[in-house]
Symmetry: D4
């Protein structure tokens, strides 16, 4: 069911059990470890997604897999050997420009696992007209991801206006009493708007994964 | 769009905009206020759902609306004048018996808004076999709600075993460093299991609302 | 400058120094102490404002001063012997009906110190249309007080739409991770909207006092 | 109403709606992004204010706009093409010399938006005579900004002595249990002195913006 | 050295080792336990001090020891059979009237162990003139205890004006973000004023004990 | 393996799997539920242990099972139908008399599961001689449980003196910044003394269970 | 009993009193200090264990003691001059690959003090089958150490399946609301699983020490 | 009374008012600022004490004042032009070797202001015999400073054994849940030992200042 490569036990039949492939959290891994993991999946004929990857990790990997792609803002690696079948639509909104890193991680994750994605960046509530201008378009999605730091109220405002599941992602953007995203996290958890759920601070991957899962179920996949 | 009844502005056309009726948060309202709100919705020919309702509030309401129902564990009031059309299935699991209050709130909410619900209570990880025995049955649902206090690990274990969206609800059950549910909330937010999102501590209503929304979308409603 | 009545030192010339009379924080005081304090100010021919007063304190006071008034929601006592000269306008908005207690404290304070007050209750962002409907009217005020619990985003949304000073008051309304108002407080402090300042959780008095001070300065008083 | 420049949506008619121009938060932006934003506003014939700007950002900008100015302590950029009309007076007081960075941000913001500013640095309560010596002069302002770290009591002492609106800014100056400004923030929120409101830790910009707004309203602007 | 009375081990020779008798913390003890402890010390010919005592505990004790005294505000019991030799002077200042409970506990403790005490109540910084009027008198003490809740800045202001050791006591007076005294505690710990040390929230006993110890040492006892 | 009694799933073969019987956490259960659970175990011929039981629960239970025993300080119920085989020795030490409630819960738990217990109450570090006098006796145990509130240093001092496993239990005894046991918990977690592990605040049951498990293993059971 | 080497007092007879040698916490010590300490123990003919050692410290030490060994992941130094007598078995499990650093510290500590160790890495609950595959083998140990970051639920799941003492170690692995290990720590403290105790975040040394102590006692040492 | 040197207001007559000279907190000051401040005091014929000084600041200062001294562990600068008259004795104890930095700051401060100091380093409670060996000597001091990180229990143990005022200083030494000294701070505030007061985390200066103040008062200075 899984492959034991000494320092890790890789879940090779995850697609069968969970419907989707395992992702590789790159942060505290050595270049050698990442290459070994990518190799194992690649040889098993599986696409690979790496998150929280440093640019230097990408460069090391590229020498072995010239086809690997890297998104620098989202810190995401992808090595695609089988075409991805995409369906439906996930809308990804951010409050400000500083939330884009997390948004890119979410977008690439949802795309990797099989969703079409549309992006609406910098539509935060300080200038609420920007959001209203895009609202009709956003409402065409099956799932909405709302990403915001600081006060984190974007999710509540959107959720109050739609009948679509919203996944809110607090970001660590801010200073002072924003406490590295805790303020935005609390705002989102305490929202009165109905139909919104929350993931961990900066967890673009988790939001993208759940959004894709719901999106595909809605599309009958 | 909404009706201004002095102390509150009731959202009468919410069904059109949000797809679902507004719920009444009863906690700090007087009997008179609750009666007035129920009356307004009732006269507009709408079903009414009241959450966090005390037994005394139910008794006051019953004098005016003999058909109102009260679930004491979930502290939920329902006044149903139009039949509810239910579809799909939401599975509600709890870690222990003390989490049942929150589970009942979630179940009644999901049912009120149009989902069939199945309950799996006391299947926490301290005796993990109880969960495995029910797993095949649980997997038939479109959405799973996982409710747990104390360490709060139920959601992670379930999510690791299924390819269905999971909504985790931390409860304030516990003592000492459980800090009224904060420990369980943090466990859930930090889960490595993919496909799980989280709502506020004890927020059975929010979980039930979102689960129903996703369940119905999957059923094409 | 102040009068020493054993257990307290009353600021009798505060109006000269601070422009406004001292208020009496009733919470942990005995009936006897409150009566003594009211008496001292009354004999000096000054209006008196008491905050956080229990109903029983009002009843004890009423026996001595039949003209004393009590607002039960705001827990405010007023004993008016000199007519109050009011100017300008302070707008007081609340997110929900549960925030009205704090709003009443703010309103009575601003009125006591010399402002006209207009109230906009239950205009929270979960149904943002309610706020937009009142916006033109709200914009006529010199100062806006925005009161909200739970996620606390009302202040940000209003501030983003006006060029008027906004004072935000978080309330302890909520449950779970609202942490008795801390969540709303953090939301407000981290707001990106420019022109908003914040006071302590449930501090209707402080907001009313500052709003009146600014309102009267704007009116040239 | 706003201009969409791909990574951001700039609020070009903000002056009409909010009375004042938008400021640029430079912290996590690339040099290219900042230049693009300054260019957009500059071409629309608007003055530009940049906050939290690194020296290297200033140097990059200077190559394109030789007239841009940089205040190193306040980390503030200004590009002034239309003369600013200033009125009234904002007094800015700091507890110690380490609070000057935040004070400079506040001062430059208030000046940018149209206020005259007077500075009273290092007048903290450890040597309270320094404050008393300046008190009569400080009282000439329309609004006072009180900036302090560590225990953060400066705002309370000043507010107790004047009938002028005070905006308190906690700073992250300190060590140990100062917890990066949380201690000073709590002190200010819990002040008994009436007439003081609070902004986020180190938020000199927010204080300067609100002080200017109130100051100009008092001056009839 | 100590006497084992089953549920407790009483320190009978504490005076020899520590210089002072043990005090009895009454809070969670039964009437029977308190009577037994008082009896043991009384029979050993020692004065007894009980802190955090409920009125009902006093009444139970009074039946056995008619000479026991009770201070209701400070919740302190004293049973004096040997005359106390007092020296020097401890000054006890409070910010407001709500801090008097803690002040009384401190005063009775310092007196019990051998100090003369002078009280300066309600001299907080909101009306700083009240403090300045008493300053010369306060400066005659060997040690100052500064007691304050809410923002808790009294200790810093006093310490900045004297060359006498100051012991600061935060109190749990306040609401909202005062967090039951944590705000005042942090203020005091972060004070820039030199010569001040701090004890636990509401710990009047600890402040009185330490103040007496220092006072008597200064007096050569 | 377990018995499903509707509101709970009882682990009937736990002794086989875990070596020990399940305990019943009584806190939020109704009298009926507790009776039903006791009945189920009793009929399966198993001893039953109930923790966190109110006196009223004991009284309800006593009507059905006249042999049930109740320890009021420890809030522990026991219904013993099969003789318990006890071995080895667990030493239980408390810092003060207020920690005895937790100690009794620990003692009854360890005894229920098969250990002999010796108690050393009120040996806290404020009068460290009391501990030294008992040290040789304490060292005869296989496992030591150290229970303390407030500063919580008892465990460290004991652990520094013995070569026996120590389990530390913080208690919620204290006030002010003791924060309901968090202070003692942190002290214990940060101890430099080697050989100590920690359980949750007030978790006498958990300490008693683990101490018994280790004690019996050492005795070869 | 101990040797005073100016900056430290070394416990030379610790083995007699505590049964085991003292370990050297290297973190904030200079190379000179570490060499001096190793020398002192070495000359006394004792094995030496150094924890939290930087690679540069190892290199400095190696010049003096060519036989010193360094484990880079665990940051552990060992200088073995007397053969170690090992008994029994300690099982060390980790949730993920990022927890291995802490696991290595625990393993080397347990081995140094006299236990055989078996390692089960990357068996976390996200893919629970990996744990079940190893369970029978794990159950052969006398003591289990369960190491996990993020949600930290590994310890609960294992403890629910065995009748062996479990020591849980939270790790600082994670991001966002994991708050540097506090989330995992709380999960572990609040576990419902019986037979588990906890040590400080990242405290592999403490877990290894306690596990060895219990393991050896069980083996009759 | 004070000298205004633009960026700071120096308290030149502090000795008259407070009895002691002002100290210079060097942390966030430029070399130029520090030189200017030292110069001002030096020219006024006063000794100067600088705390939290970097080595580079010392080197810049040395070029202007060749007689300036620097203690690298305590990060303390002293420039002595008038002989210091020392009296009495302050004992400074640390729990471990890592607390020495803070101890040196305390020692140099107490010496600068006029006390003799004796040091007892590495006498923490993990090996309590080290403390007992020094106890009689420690007891000769007028004041004791107890410095400890991690669990922070040293102060309580000492205070329980003496009748001398103790000032406890928590240090930020530790890891995991020590939370940069908060754990030790809470331990000290919650101590049951009578006669101990507390200062901020790592505040060696504050402890040294207060200890000297008390010591000199006891000596009649």
């Amino acid at each position: 069911m899984y492959k034991d490569i000494d320092f890790a036990k890789l879940d090779m039949e995850r697609k069968k059990r969970k419907g989707y492939l395992e992702a590789v959290f790159c942060e505290s891994k050595t270049d050698e470890e990442i290459i070994k993991i990518f190799q194992t999946f690649y040889e098993a004929n599986q696409n690979v997604l790496g998150t929280r990857a440093a640019k230097s990790q990408f460069e090391a990997l590229k020498k072995v897999f010239p086809d690997v792609k890297y998104n620098e803002r989202g810190k995401v690696l992808t090595l695609i050997s089988k075409e991805i079948d995409r369906v439906g639509e996930v809308a990804i909104c951010t409050g400000g420009t500083s939330d884009i890193n997390v948004a890119e991680e979410a977008a690439l994750t949802a795309e990797f696992y099989g969703s079409y994605v549309k992006k609406y960046y910098d539509v935060g509530i300080a200038g609420i007209q920007r959001l209203f201008d895009k609202l009709e378009e956003i409402k065409k999605a099956n799932v909405i991801i709302a990403i915001a730091g600081m006060e984190g109220a974007l999710g509540s405002v959107i959720t109050g206006l739609v009948d679509i599941p919203v996944i809110a992602v607090p970001t660590s953007v801010g200073y002072g009493s924003s406490m590295k995203g805790l303020s935005a996290l609390l705002t989102m958890l305490n929202s009165c708007a109905e139909g919104m759920t929350v993931v961990n601070i900066d967890n673009g991957f988790g939001a993208g994964y759940s959004a894709n899962l719901i999106n595909r179920k809605i599309e009958g996949k």
